[in-house]
Symmetry: C3
Subunit: 157 residues, 3 copies
């Protein structure tokens, strides 16, 4: 099954690619069989930062943080699709680096980033979608995003 | 000398691989001649998070932080051994990304992450064990870990 | 035009490579056609940490943070030149990971890291100098650095 078909099966609609507003970097930088995926924030259906904003553990609940991490994964998929033409060119996920905008003393960070990891495994299966991962709490994220996730993917021609 | 013999010479016993409790990621993700090592926390002899927990510079002293970073390195070695079968398959260390759960105003971060870097060089020698490195202070780490370290290693067949 | 000529055209003088004071890591770790660039802080003309130090959004203004990120980029170029012999061996920038020592509630992080991204594109052009990027706010950086930036570059022989 193609990834597009699998997304449809899961009733998942990807957002438009993140609006970087002329920022001087690329959402996906490919080189050989590697795709380096820039840090992605959660997006709404129009490619803007999804709400709620703020710190997970204070303004944003752990459950909302999980949902935000899932939206980060969808944003990465949207960028990869735009860059690669088709998500079927993803050979294997390699690395997920999950950053939570953490309120003081909120340290249940893995449970938040699971929102990304579980989506990737749901869509690509364990063998392709598996990945090494770090989950950390950072002091601030761009414009109050609750979660930002960077990744690396092996791609085929 | 094999790495196993070198570890014995240094009286180092590796912990069992980190217990991820069903978390949806891999401790080591290999692809071609690369091994991407997930963020590792300090482990005790049973593969559980080693104490003390908390913020380096407050709950945890700089010296205890150094010891924790060394335990992170041993945890990475345990995961690599489990994944690769033998640490002799490590061709070269490439990157170490060291994250300290830093108390406010504690910025002697390189001295903490040295606990990892010096262990790697002790075990593998300067040529194989050397690496590019960042040492940063983060707001929170999973479940109060004082240090978390992610890495990349070049491997041979 | 060579990168050295382009730097001269832009009136840019690189600092001496960062003084790591015997720290157990390399500023640039090469492997095959990859160069992994350690986290670099802003340097002055003598290879020491450039002032001002402290938190962007409090001790350091956003404009000074931008300038600091630009100095991080120059420090990376100095390290790459020392390691590679010539910056013409840089085939493509791949990844920039920008860490801001952020004061509470300072979240205009992309604007700070633009100081690095725009310099790279000025010097190398969009095709070579482009990169995937993350911009995050961390709790502390080594010895009060306002910005630290890590990177990966594809190199040619």
């Amino acid at each position: 099954m193609s990834i597009a078909a699998r997304l449809a099966e899961l009733d998942i609609v990807l957002p438009p690619p993140m609006r970087t507003g002329g920022l001087p970097f690329q959402l996906v930088r490919t080189h050989g069989n590697r795709a380096l995926v820039a840090g992605h924030v959660p997006l709404d259906g129009e490619g803007r930062m999804a709400k709620p904003l703020g710190k997970v553990g204070a303004d944003v609940s752990a459950e909302q943080g999980y949902a935000a991490a899932r939206l980060c994964a969808l944003a990465m998929l949207a960028s990869l699709q735009a860059e690669l033409g088709s998500l079927d060119r993803v050979e294997r996920w390699l690395r997920v680096f999950g950053m939570v905008n953490a309120a003081p003393e909120f340290n249940a960070l893995p449970g938040v980033i699971n929102g990304c990891s579980e989506l990737l495994i749901d869509v690509f299966g364990e063998s392709v979608g598996g990945h090494a991962r770090s989950a950390i709490g950072v002091a601030e994220l761009p414009f109050g995003a609750p979660v930002e996730i960077e990744a690396e993917v092996a791609i085929r021609d």
